[in-house]
Symmetry: C2
Subunit: 409 residues, 2 copies
């Protein structure tokens, strides 16, 4: 008899992490270094902003008075002090006041999504996710929560535009009880900032359908284009029972390793149910202290955000210039850490197998890892997500040169 449970064996046989991520972890020990390892691995497949550590590390490392309460158990959904600091900070992008009692802090946005969907949907229930999409939603919702994501495919020919008709069609054809629509704004992987009318259409549709709308606004501050971010939280006088916002420090504060995610919800029952599970996904009290102090320094936050936007814009500009020079088509972005490259013309056939072969050829030939479009559930093969902020600006252009060499060869 195996020493594992049935579900344990399934985790080993079919790990929740996709192949491109396992390849990432396998190659990470030998990264690119201009002097020491010029042919080293360049990971452009993980949505991290690696451009901000000079501002952030001193914040984490500076001396501070640590109160004894930080050592002990506190509220499982985050200390009141930290939620107060968040309530002072979040309005800058939510576009509305928020109360500490409407916040829950957990060990990262992944944990927030996992627990939120646990308490609003039962095993087998469906959740609508427009595509192209963040690849991680599938493990977040399907692995432990046992939900079924119904993708709402938009198509390249329309510029990946979501319409109410597409949502209607997905709702009708789901074949299961649909409990929620999960919508990401700014968009991942498109790097698009949605306008107020676009968000209004999504919110109205969800209200009419009578389902939860979970807004993933994790890139709210990471906007470098001219279009200003609008939060879905700002569209109504109140969030109500069925609109929830997910945010985290991982993207806008370039700190995925600190595991600090936030749920904004006015639904007291949802918060109570999440609280019941929060013990198994708690955020470190010390990390809460450090991040709370950081947020409370408004002048520092202002400087940080404007520097971040400038660096993201510069990095995006450098990589798009390199892509253009190399003849690799792409969809420009205005937010987030990434853009989609359009490699359809480099496929040997218009198939998912051909995309997988191309991805493999790029990772082996260029030692550059892109997120394959299949992981983002894009409606047609040949697109890949390129995270330009995951490495220094110069490294991203080295990666594009390598990709071009393999694609041209």
């Amino acid at each position: 008899m195996s020493s594992l449970s049935g579900r344990g064996q399934r985790l080993v046989q079919s790990p929740p992490a996709a192949e491109y991520l396992r390849e990432h972890f396998a190659r990470s020990p030998a990264p690119h270094d201009p002097a020491l390892r010029p042919d080293g691995y360049i990971p452009l497949c993980v949505a991290e902003n690696k451009l901000m550590s000079d501002l952030l590390c001193p914040q984490l490392g500076r001396p501070r008075q640590v109160p004894a309460r930080v050592l002990g158990y506190d509220a499982m959904i985050g200390s009141w002090q930290f939620r107060e600091a968040l309530a002072g900070f979040l309005p800058r992008f939510l576009g509305r006041a928020v109360r500490p009692e409407h916040l829950a802090v957990l060990a990262g946005a992944g944990s927030v999504l996992e627990l939120l969907f646990h308490v609003i949907a039962d095993p087998g229930d469906a959740v609508l996710v427009p595509t192209p999409s963040y690849a991680g939603f599938w493990p977040d919702l399907e692995t432990r929560d046992e939900l079924c994501i119904v993708p709402v495919h938009t198509s390249a020919s329309t510029g990946f535009r979501l319409t109410p008709e597409l949502l209607d069609s997905a709702l009708k054809s789901a074949g299961r009880r649909v409990r929620a629509l999960l919508f990401t704004s700014p968009d991942n992987p498109l790097g698009r900032v949605y306008s107020r009318p676009e968000l209004e259409a999504v919110l109205s549709w969800a209200e009419h359908a009578g389902i939860h709308l979970v807004m993933d606004e994790i890139y709210a501050l990471s906007v470098f284009g001219p279009q200003a971010f609008v939060s879905a939280a700002s569209l109504r006088p109140a969030l109500g029972e069925r609109v929830h916002v997910v945010w985290a420090f991982s993207k806008d504060f370039a700190a995925s390793g600190l595991r600090a995610g936030v749920l904004v919800s006015e639904n007291a029952e949802v918060l109570a149910a999440v609280d019941g599970l929060a013990y198994w996904a708690c955020c470190s009290g010390h990390t809460q202290l450090v991040l709370g102090e950081m947020l409370s320094d408004q002048a520092w936050v202002e400087g940080y955000v404007s520097t971040m936007r400038a660096r993201l814009g510069s990095a995006q500009h450098a990589v798009t210039r390199a892509l253009t020079a190399s003849g690799i088509p792409f969809l420009p972005s205005e937010a987030g850490f990434f853009l989609l490259v359009d490699l359809r013309r480099f496929l040997d056939s218009p198939s998912w197998d051909a995309e997988a072969r191309l991805w493999r050829r790029l990772v082996e030939g260029a030692n550059v890892n892109l997120t394959p479009g299949s992981a983002c559930r894009i409606s047609e093969p040949g697109f890949m997500r390129l995270c330009f902020a995951a490495v220094p600006e110069h490294t991203a252009t080295v990666a594009v040169d390598r990709l071009a060499r393999v694609l041209g060869g």
Copy 2:
């Protein structure tokens, strides 16, 4: 239609946290203060060591160089650097060498238990837990993992001694597939240090039964009596496939709020399966850095551990002296943060209802919260766990005076 899922509604209707914990959170905002609130709440129901913050807070708060890697994703089961630091530290109580690749770090011991049991047992499977027991095992194993704990009751008349016959009987009468025995050493709530022959009997029994033995050794260093701690990990040349050790910083480093728990296992499949779920229960990278640096300062660790033991011993002595003076019987302890008080003679009848009434009378009359024996699944009513390290030494004696007043009234 409720905005919650069925499982979400169950979490709201039957919160995983027991009544005494909900009472604890309700009363915590008005704690005892000798000068400002002499009648304030005294929580002796949560196993925390509050006696060490003068040594620990400066460690957390001192300035340090934070490497950029701390900001980013790292291994979901803990950074290699932190696991190396742990591998250097853990042998001091495990009594054997341990390799970093046999360690997984998660957001607290609760998360370690929850994920470990997920991958070694399926919904409906049984796990044997000797009683008196840590109350939290029930939510840890039953809430998300959907396992069924089969208590192995020991009785007060034998000094709560576990025997192979009791284990045999529980295994036979379980009526379900039994996947594991979960054993706590040093004991919670008895505060007893198990001898090598006692551990050998438990390990041999589990080997013979062919089930996992999960050793909760979370109080390994918190020993203040003359009997030295022995780890079950030291009994065999190798841990093998079915012995796993759980440890954390919460007890021995008085830091339950930092959410850093450790799994020690030589079972590669168990570790791989846990890795597959670890993303939803990650330990903060910054907290890993801080704790890793702390462990690496061996002189500091030596001083910390000897001070901790002296303070625990002193606190236990103060509270047992007060209990004796007040005529409240108790079972002396030699490890952990607690002891059992024997309130059987104060029950108005030998029933669980009477115990609940007595607990309520104490919390309302004395504003002192003890862990009722029912939560520890003790085999007969009337015992309660008293955590003497959860408050300053003087406060614990104030609590005993208040308890004595209510019991005598």
